[in-house]
Amino acid sequence: MAFSLFLLLFIYYPLIQLYLFPQQPDASIKRSDFYIEIPKINVLSRVIEDVDPFNEAEYRKELERGIAQAKGTYLPDQNGTMFLFAHSSDLPWRITRYNIDFFRLPELKNGDIITIGRKGKVYKYKVTEQKTVNPSEVNYLLNTKEKQLILQTCVPIGTSLQRLLVFAEPIL
């Protein structure tokens, strides 16, 4: 019994820590060239630019360093869709190595504020919609004409069955 409890604690400790012992985000991240901040879910992370979303080996490696901006989508100072994605969970022995900043992404509601900082400029977005889609719906990556921000992670937590998309529009 004790062993099973210990194993459960070991697996889920990073997630327990998110709620019970949340760590203060590293403020130095705000001095980096590209970052994202979502105060409601205590996210402050670097954004890795130009990551190929269709090359799993590449994006898995980059996701160890931060949240990925999908190659082919736009940057905040450009007139189009910016697509960011990150882990919500991972294998038990890797869950502490990868950032799981988007674990709490499902908690975002309409009106919540997302801040993107890039090269000294700050861009603010307001959440407008959440949508759960199938993995095959790649049109959200290709249809990039609308100026908006899309955040993506996998749901249900612990699986890659579906994708949660959070849409946000810039606050002018």
Binding site: S4, P53, F54, N55, A70, G80, V133, C154, T159, S160
Partner: protein
């Protein structure tokens, strides 16, 4: 027998329209109507179109240029008086411009077909079974490959030197002009693939109405559009340049008078620019899919659903509406996987099972029998 012939005729007509979108008819109607009670009516149509474009460009360009400007190599020797050599400027300029080598362009028609496709089941009797089954499979393949080997060999020289004034019985003056050697090579827009590819979509309306009680009416639509794009570029560029500007190498020996050698400037400029080597651009386009006009549950007139700001793709189409341009990136089939596998779930179940079994063995089992020791 009559129904089979009817179905076959409808199939042929429909397929004919799909393959010839220039047909004069404004509308394609696929209808099962007016059949008696208890009848079993089926129409099945399948249309497959495959468009494959293969483009290959191979270019082998070789430029061999030799340019020489010379005002030097003068000699004045064994004169009784003064000797003087004055040369003008020597300028040699070589320019090579390789632009727009190997480009392929695919412009596949895409967009909406003007002729709407109407699928209609109406006016059939009670307990009839009516089934329209349509499948349209469009596959577009574009394969582009460009290979360019460019070799630029340049031998460019400007000389005002190598003048000789020996054994003169007087003063000697050698005054050379400037030597300017300039080479410019530009390799630009080498290997470029540009494609606009997409699929043609029908405007579809489905109507099931006026059928009798107990009838079973089924309309099945299957659209499967696939696009494969491949662009390979190979560029091998050699720029071999020898560029010499000389004003020196002047000789004045065994002269009885004063010797003055003044040389001009020797300037050598080489400018090589390789721009836009190997590139590809793909524009994916599609028809702005209007949501199918669906009948309400139980039949009746079609209801036009409201249009959303971000319609979700439906059916089997793998390429969706208004796809933007993706430069230099292969298009995958799924959104990035950012969750764990099933192992996390399995390990959790394993731990809980272990916990419950442990609890049962610890608290749920009976009292252990007394221990007997062998004497």
């Amino acid at each position: 027998m009559f129904k089979k012939i009817f179905a076959a005729c409808l199939s042929l007509i429909f397929v004919g329209f799909l393959f010839n979108t220039q047909a004069a008819a404004d509308e394609i109607v696929l209808s099962i109507s007016g059949n008696g009670g208890g009848s079993d009516n089926s129409v099945a149509v399948a249309a497959n179109t495959t468009t494959t474009v293969t483009q290959t460009n191979n270019a082998d360009v070789s430029n061999d240029v030799s340019s020489n400007a010379n005002t030097g190599d003068n000699t004045t020797s064994s004169n009784n008086g003064e000797a003087s050599i004055t040369t003008g400027d020597a300028t040699s300029t070589t320019s090579i411009n390789n632009q727009g080598i190997n480009s392929n362009y695919v412009d596949d028609s895409c967009g909406c077909v003007d002729n709407p496709l109407n699928l209609k089941i109406s006016g059939n009797g009670t307990d009839s079974v009516n089934n329209i089954d349509t499948g349209v499979n469009n596959s577009t393949n574009a394969y582009q490959s460009n290979s360019a080997q460019i070799t630029n060999n340049v031998n460019n020289s400007a000389n005002t030197g190598y003048n000789t004034a020996n054994n003169n019985n007087g003063n000697v003056v050698i005054d050379t002009g400037n030597a300017l050697a300039v080479v410019g090579i530009k390799n630009k827009n080498i290997n470029f693939g540009n494609s606009t590819i997409g699929s043609v979509m029908e405007m579809i309306s489905v109507s099931i109405s006026g059928n009798g009680d107990g009838s079973i009416n089924l309309v099945k639509l299957l659209f499967d559009n696939s696009i494969n794009y491949e662009n390979k570029n190979l560029a091998i560029i050699f720029n071999n340049v020898i560029n010499i500007a000389n004003t020196g190498g002047n000789t004045a020996n065994n002269n009885n008078g004063a010797v003055l050698i003044a040389t001009g400037d020797a300037v050598s400029v080489v400018n090589i620019a390789n721009e836009n080597i190997n590139g590809s651009k793909v524009n994916l386009c599609d028809c702005k899919i209007t949501p199918p006009v669906l009948p309400p549950p139980g039949g009746g007139d079609p209801i036009i659903p409201p249009t959303g700001s971000q319609p979700s793709p439906s059916g089997g189409s793998s390429i969706t509406q208004n796809a933007g341009s993706v430069l230099g990136a292969a298009i995958g089939t799924i959104l990035p996987a950012t969750g764990g596998g099933y192992l996390l779930l399995l390990m959790t179940i394993f731990c809980l099972t272990l916990f419950l079994v442990g609890g049962y063995l610890r608290f749920g089992s009976g009292i252990s029998p007394p221990v007997a020791y062998a004497v």
